[in-house]
Every structure is written in structure tokens, then in C-alpha cells.
Symmetry: C2
Subunit: 339 residues, 2 copies
DNA sequence: AGATTGAGTTGAATCGTCTCAACCAACCCT
DNA sequence: AGGGTTGGTTGAGACGATTCAACTCAATCT
């Protein structure tokens, strides 16, 4: 490895290391002729500044970590892209880490990021209560919770999932459905619990006229949605719900697939609503109704908060930003139960 | 920021910094009692080792960069997951960067990664010829090309895209299609060019009996696929192709959507084959036939090659690994044109 | 002439960790 | 008793860039 350092550059350009450093960081204060000589030396040697050493000295990195629950869910990819677009403008790098819903993996990623002394961390935590995260913040790494509730100890951005559930439920009830299923994931995941509570509230508002079934799965994947769908499709028509509200679009897509493979029509035999409104929702077998979240905005806002905290640690006050979801109605729930 | 360093730990534990370092790196050589004292001090102070300083001294990072063409394409996410699973076993971190098909962004990411002195870089380059990449490698950062052709100067892993195109073409021809459209992207992208050449070869083998139309788009997105689909659907039935082979699944999904919204039946009026076989392909409006690539394997192999090069830079010989794609037939191409 | 100013440049100290030769104490062997 | 061995521990350099007080040398002012 032929990595050149600042000293070699200095030698070749016949200046001191201090001057080379100045050329790199404050070119305007060094005499044009000298500056030129240094640039030439840099070019001739193929010198690339060692960001590691720089960072050690300066004490502040230009990298932020983004730890998401599931990279294979396009929702999180969009959040990441939002964050990255802002980071780009502050020549900051976003490193994307995947906890895959596993607290162990999440913990390892956080360890790594803290050891790297990143500028800050954006995270969609696996678990609601996380003393580990608080210690991390206390030790001096700013943390912003993404799509997660406020703890008061950190900044956070989130979307009102309870409201999202409520909207979806109200929509289905209004369409005449009286037997609705919530196709959920582990209730330990806050998003799932809130969306469930939301539709529960909508059902309660119907004063007993509507029945709410609930299924819980270990993961929120397409495969899991399909599995639940298979079971539901196998039920006799009388016991089967007439509508399903899925905890996210991936599950909804799987669920939809199962309906199709059992010859059940959507929305006539089964209405379906998903959550997140990922790009694939509109491209599904039957275009999927879905509760839309402002995905990129979520990411952009999160990193804005982080950058603000880093820039002014003293006067920074932790804030909670909450966005509103809205329902996108497509064919999968277009038709009423009783027209 | 109350970041503790090794010296403070040493003081509290009443040992030298060397001993603390030993506890951290080779615990077995320090006396159990001392070790205990050091661990206690670490815990009490909330000490977290500064990986930046460590790296500066040791000169070798445990991070590899993975620069992909498009994070919003699940294909690349799967490649990344493959790479990460191997990296995990070597406690190495993968940082995922998105060039989004833009040479400028790609270049900036590469600069950043080199400055960070990453252990190596896995990349799906935007452009086929890239002197920049070669200089990078020459300066000492190992590079493995992913899903990209061999240059001889680096290791590479790829899938035979030409063969993939050929298989898809042969399948459609065998099903009786005589007017086929290649729904492609910019021909400057190697994958696109190869897949096009592949289906071209299949058509040529039919000795003039089959006509091949070609559309090119600036990007390979769902939206672009839909746009092309709209145009195609608007054609009079006589001029319209009876089958489409799309450069990737995202385009195929968009194309499929356009067919549906114009009341054209798939596969009766239009057969469709996609490429990559992402998970969403099977969940599409009409389950999508697709040329499958070993996505995770691609990522795993790439990082294996990189780790090998890093472990034994001397005896390492650059290698090109090529995998074979295969066709997954689903409903979107299930029916023959002339049964 | 001597003092003052300002633009450029220098080099030593610093960041936090690792490495390695040197050292120490205790034990064993003859 | 003296020499060798073993198991632990120490502390002084690196690593590569940044910073800043000190310095040089002309040009300008009094």
C-alpha cells in the first residue's frame, strides 16, 4: 500500500507540513505560488488525505449512522434516501445499518458506530424501552429517534400511527364492512401496537356493530402476510372477515397474493388496506389502498434535528415532530360491502 | 462530551495504559485480578474504545464500502444483505452507498471511502470504463466489481446477462411470439446492453421469423416502465408487440400496471418477462415471469474475494466469477401465443 | 534609521490507541 | 548462591493530520 502522507507532500513541495495542511483547509491564506507547488506535489504523489487521522485530531466526524428495522422494506429505504439528500448538502456521509428487528444486531451496530465516534445516530429502535440508547446519548453521541415515540430525552420524528389505524378502520366501516381483521406483527413493535389501537378505536366508535379480529405474526414480511392470508382464505365464507387491514404493505402484498391463489376476489370478497404506501403498492395485483406516510420527509427531518443538535449543543432543546398520515384509496378497497 | 480515554481507565485501575490496551486486545495474557480491576474501571467510567485512534495506529479498518447503482431496487438490497451476512462473521462493517446512477455521486462516495481508509470497496460502477477506479486500486484500496465485467485489474463477480436475455428470448419465441419488445434503459449501462444483446441473439437464431422492437429509457424505474407501457398500449393492436422483455423487474412492474390500466390482458394480449426476480415480482398484479439472479450469492462472493485479497495481498490473483441466471416462469408469460 | 505592521511560513505539541523492548519479581534448578 | 525461566507489567515511541504561538522578511510609517 503506497499511501502518501502529508510529510512526503511537504518534502516534495519544499514547504512545511503546516503549510500543506493550510493548503488543504484554508487555501486562501497561503501564497498562490506556494499553493500551486503543493497542489502539484499532491497530484504527483497521488496523495489522499487520511480522514481517520484528521478526525482523531479534530474530534468530530462527518458521518452519521442510520439504523433501520428492515432494509428490505422499501419504506426504510425511502427514509434513508430522505436523510441522505440532506446529509449530502452538508457533506456528511450516512452509513446505513440494518438491525433486521434483532436487538442483538442493533446493539452491535450501535457499539460499532459509537466506537467510530460518529457525529450522531438516527435510529428506528427495535424495542420501545432502551436504556442502552439513553446511556449512549448520555455518553455524548446525539441520537434522534425515527418513526418512534418521544422519550423526552432525545429528539424524535414520527407519524401518528394511531391516527393511521383509525383512518383505515373508519374507511372500511364506512364502506360497510362489519367483520374486519387486523393482520399484524409482534405487538412489541410500537408501530404495530399503535396501528392496532387505532383501528380498535374506530371499531369501538361503531358501538358494537363491527367485529375486529386480530392476527399476530413474528415478522412483517411478504411471506408472513401470505401465510396469514392462506389461513384466512381457508375459513368458511361465513367466518371469514370481509376486510383486512395489514400492518404494512409487504404483509398486505403477501395477503393479497394468497387471496388470488385461492380464487377470492379483491375487493369483492375481501377488501385490503396496507400501510406505508410504498411504490410497489400501486403496482400490486390489485392496486393497494394504503395509509401513506411522508417517508422522505421523515428522514430529512430526522437529520435536520440531528444537525441542529450538533451545531448548537448548548441551546438545543429536544423536540418531537409528529406528522399526519393519510389514506390513499385504490382498487383493493374501492368497492363497498353493501353498495 | 464526556468521552473517557484509555489513560483515565489506567489511572482508575492503577495500572499502565499498556495493560489496559492488553485487557482490550489480548485479555488472556493479563492476570485475572488485574483484568477484573480494569474491567471495573471501564464500566464505572463508561469507557468506549476510540476506534478512530485504534485504526490510525493499526492502519487497517474493519469497514468495507459497498457502492450500488440504486438502493431503491430491491435487487441491490439483496446483494447488500448477502455481503453483510459474510461481513458479520468477520466482524466487519459494510457501509452502503448509493450512486443512484450518477457518476458524480459515485465519485464523491469513492473519495469519501478512500479518505476513510476503508479496508476495501465493492462497487457496481455506473460506467463501464473507469480510470478513476483503477487509480484507486493502484493507490492501495482493494476493489471488487459487483455485477460488472472483468477488467483483469480487479476481481469481479457477475451474472451472465447475455445468457439471461437469450433465455428470456428463447422462451418467448418458443411460446409463439413473433413481435417482441425489449423495454430497456440507457444502453450505456452494461447490464442493459448485455440483456439486449442476449435477446437479440435469440431473435437472430429464429432466422428472421421474429421481429424485435427496442425502447430505451433514461432510468430503470417503475414509473419509466409504466410510461413505456402507456405508449405501447396506445398502439393499434396490429402494430403492438405481443410480448415484452423488460430490463429489470421494476420496469416490468410498471409496464404491467400500464397494461392493466388500459384493459389489456396479461399474458393473453401481452406477455411480460422481467429481470432479477425480486420478491415483489411474484406478488405482482399478474405474477411475473423473471430471469433470476443469485442476488445474495453475488454479494457473498464479492466480499469473499475482497477478504481473500486483504488477507493475502501477495499471493492473491484477481479472479472473475460468473454465475448463470435462470428463468422463473409465472403467469405473465405462462400462456402461448398460439396454443 | 528605527519602529510597526502584516502576510506567509514554520515546527512542536496534540489527539487516543497500539506495540514492543525492557524490566521486575518470583520461582526453579543445579 | 547464581543463572535461567516464566508470567506480568511498564512506558516511550509511533500513526497522520491539525493548530497555534513564534518567527521571518518586506514594505510602510514616523
Amino acid at each position: 500500500m503506497a499511501t502518501r502522507n502529508i510529510k512526503e507532500v511537504a518534502q516534495l513541495a519544499r514547504v512545511s507540513v503546516g503549510t500543506v495542511s493550510n493548503v488543504l483547509n484554508r487555501p486562501e491564506i497561503v501564497a498562490p505560488a506556494t499553493r500551486e507547488r503543493v497542489f502539484e506535489a499532491i497530484k504527483k504523489l497521488g496523495f489522499v488525505r487520511n480522514e481517520v487521522a484528521r478526525h482523531l485530531r479534530v474530534g468530530r466526524s462527518r458521518t452519521v449512522g442510520l439504523v433501520v428495522l428492515d432494509v428490505s422494506n422499501p419504506f426504510f429505504v425511502d427514509v434513508a434516501q430522505g436523510a441522505e439528500s440532506v446529509a449530502d448538502d452538508h457533506d456528511t456521509m450516512v452509513v446505513l445499518c440494518n438491525s433486521a428487528g434483532d436487538p442483538g444486531r442493533e446493539r452491535r451496530h450501535l457499539d460499532q458506530l459509537e466506537q467510530q465516534r460518529v457525529m450522531g445516530i438516527l435510529i428506528t429502535p427495535v424495542e420501545m424501552e432502551s436504556p442502552w440508547l439513553e446511556e449512549l446519548a448520555a455518553r455524548g453521541t446525539p441520537v434522534v429517534l425515527v418513526d418512534s415515540p418521544a422519550t423526552g430525552l432525545q429528539c424524535s420524528v414520527a407519524v401518528d400511527d394511531r391516527l393511521g389505524g383509525q383512518i383505515a378502520g373508519a374507511h372500511l366501516i364506512e364502506r360497510g364492512h362489519r367483520r374486519i381483521m387486523f393482520v399484524g406483527g409482534p405487538p412489541s413493535i410500537r408501530q404495530v401496537a399503535d396501528r392496532h389501537a387505532g383501528i380498535g378505536a374506530a371499531v369501538a366508535a361503531a358501538a358494537g356493530a363491527v367485529e375486529l379480529l386480530t392476527s399476530t405474526s413474528p415478522t412483517l414480511t411478504v411471506a408472513e402476510g401470505r401465510a396469514v392470508g392462506e389461513r384466512v382464505a381457508a375459513l368458511p365464507a361465513g367466518e371469514r372477515p370481509t376486510a383486512a387491514f395489514c400492518a404494512n404493505d409487504m404483509m398486505a402484498l403477501g395477503f393479497l397474493q394468497a387471496m388470488a391463489s385461492h380464487g377470492l376476489r379483491v375487493p369483492e370478497d375481501m377488501a385490503i388496506i396496507g400501510y406505508d404506501d410504498i411504490d410497489f403498492a400501486a403496482a400490486a395485483a390489485v392496486p393497494l389502498s394504503s395509509v401513506r406516510q411522508p417517508r422522505e420527509l421523515l428522514g430529512r427531518t430526522a437529520i435536520d434535528l440531528l444537525l441542529e443538535e450538533v451545531a448548537e449543543p448548548e441551546e438545543h432543546r429536544h423536540r418531537q415532530v409528529i406528522f399526519q398520515p393519510d389514506l390513499v384509496v385504490r382498487k383493493s378497497s374501492a368497492q363497498g360491502r353493501n353498495p
